[in-house]
């Protein structure tokens, strides 16, 4: 068990980053599923709207900058 742990010890490949006053940036190995639009994809990098005002939801379109 401990052997396995040391072998597998590595940083997560996927990074979820909350950008201050900006979108959510996710990079790495993900399956993104949008339930409302019934879209599933595996982007290596994606910026998701956090302000609720994007015209391209769930993606960021920089609408937040108009409201800061």
């Amino acid at each position: 068990m401990s052997n396995m742990e040391t072998n597998n010890e590595k940083k997560s490949f996927t990074l979820v980053e909350v950008i201050d006053d900006g979108p959510l940036k996710i990079t790495g190995n993900i399956v993104l599923k949008d339930l409302k639009r019934d879209v599933t994809e595996s982007p290596k990098e994606v910026y998701l709207c956090r302000c609720g005002r994007s015209e391209k939801k769930p993606y960021c379109d920089c609408s937040h900058k108009r409201y800061v």
Partner: protein
């Protein structure tokens, strides 16, 4: 491991001719997609609460895939069919609970992180990932976080349910 035909370590399982659905109650976060979408199959007020005869297999799979956690997962009874699962089958056990794939070799070494955009609701992220915000960095192992998408929550960046109060509509 299996004590009875309808249980497995960690929960219960339900079968029809095509698939087996696994229920792991500890993992449930009460997102309630299962019974809101398909009460004929998933009825919390009934015992047993899952009736695999309540809908077609395709529809059951569709609703199990909506579950944001591994509380509900599924696999084909025909193990051959479990070897080639497309990534949109998000709650297939190969992505959520590969230990349940009895005879199959674990071919996927690193499970992708699940990112679900909930209908008129938050972003639910599940799996192993690094979470970074406000200068903090945290390694999340088999964790789940729910992040605000309406911009008005009181616990930003996390969801606190405010989207429902303000009638946030994702369009």
């Amino acid at each position: 491991m299996e004590k009875a035909s309808n249980s497995f370590s960690g929960g219960r399982k339900y079968r029809n001719n095509d698939i087996t659905v696994y229920w792991k109650p500890d993992a449930c976060v009460h997102a309630s997609y299962c019974y809101r979408e398909l009460i004929e199959v998933f009825d919390p007020g009934r015992r047993p609460w899952v009736d695999m005869n309540g809908a077609e297999t395709d529809r059951i799979i569709e609703v199990v895939n909506m579950c944001p956690t591994e509380a509900l997962t599924w696999k084909w009874n025909d193990e051959e069919r479990n070897k080639d699962i497309s990534i949109d089958q998000t709650n297939h056990v190969i992505f959520r609970r590969p230990e349940l794939l009895g005879t199959m070799e674990q071919s996927i070494q690193e499970n992708p992180v699940s990112v679900k955009i909930m209908t008129d609701g938050p972003i639910v992220i599940k799996g192993d990932f690094t979470f970074q915000y406000g200068g903090n960095k945290k390694e999340i192992k088999e964790g789940i976080i729910s992040l605000c998408r309406c911009g008005t929550g009181g616990h930003l960046p996390f969801c606190d349910g405010t989207h429902r109060k303000i009638g946030f509509e994702d369009k």
